[in-house]
Amino acid sequence: MSTGLQEKVGMKLDTYNFKIEKGKLKELALAIGDLREESLKGELVLPTFPTVVDFMGEETSTLEDLLGLNLQKVLHGEQEYEYLGEMKPGDDLTVTGVIENVYTKASMDFYIIKKEFVNQNGETVLISRSTIIERH
């Protein structure tokens, strides 16, 4: 592995806030094609809603910029969520992230990104681990 990659381990992402709004919950449900009443009212936090929180934090600096990734070569390898507490509409989340690991395998670079979502009461409600792959 090149030293350039190794240096990225431990790199912290910018901390940001995200408020869970019903409109965003509904928008995700519609995009997935989940037309249940509860989903369309924006009252159900779908299991993959954390991805919205992940991407909305990239308004100012994207992960691709930070890690110097080529978007044409990037794939999502794995995604894990641990739900430690409840997330509800109206919650105000503070999100921190770190590059937990980086390694090269079969001509591809693997980046493990860990994020923690903490709500307005200081409870950690979610841990997200993404594996992003860049093909060489």
């Binding site: 965003k24 928008e27 995700l28 519609l30 995009a31 997935i32 094609g33 989940d34 159900l44 936090v45 779908l46 299991p47 993959t48 991805t51 919205v52 992940d54 991407f55 909305m56 990239e58 978007l71 044409q72 070569k73 990037v74 794939l75 999502h76 390898g77 794995e78 995604q79 894990e80 969520y81 641990e82 739900y83 430690l84 409840e86």
Partner: protein, 127 residues
């Protein structure tokens, strides 16, 4: 509920290009490999591919129909194959193990030919 129990499969509508545009907007994932055909072609993908998280989203929808999301404690997914507009996805799953406190389950999203697109494992708190 018992180990071996098969959940009712969730059959999704055919994925369309418009859905990928809509998903990009909803999720904030604007990588053009999902929405801009010439960009995806020059990336060597032979056309746009669906966001992996859209397909994981189908699995998440299925889980939320099988259980209360309040009981979901863990949901891991491996993205196995690319999904393209025109494909129809079905989510199927079963209970594979149990502990005193949890049901350990798995689910997969497959196309009409049975190709596995994503494989998930998830854990549900017992009530």
């Amino acid at each position: 509920m018992e180990v071996g129990y098969q959940f009712e499969p969730l059959h999704k509508e055919e994925i369309t290009h418009s859905q990928l545009v809509r998903y990009a907007g909803a999720s904030g994932d604007f990588n053009p490999i999902h929405t801009v055909v010439p960009f995806a072609e020059s990336a060597g993908l032979g056309g746009v591919i669906a966001h992996g998280m859209l397909v994981k989203g189908f699995v998440g929808q299925a889980i939320s129909q099988w259980f209360s999301t309040k009981d979901l404690v863990k949901f891991s997914t491996r993205f196995r194959a690319m999904t393209r507009p025109g494909e129809k996805i079905t989510v199927q799953g079963s209970v594979v193990e149990e502990t005193e406190e949890r049901w350990i389950c798995q689910a997969e999203a497959v196309n009409e030919a049975g190709e596995v697109k994503v494989k998930s494992s998830f854990e549900i708190k017992k009530r």
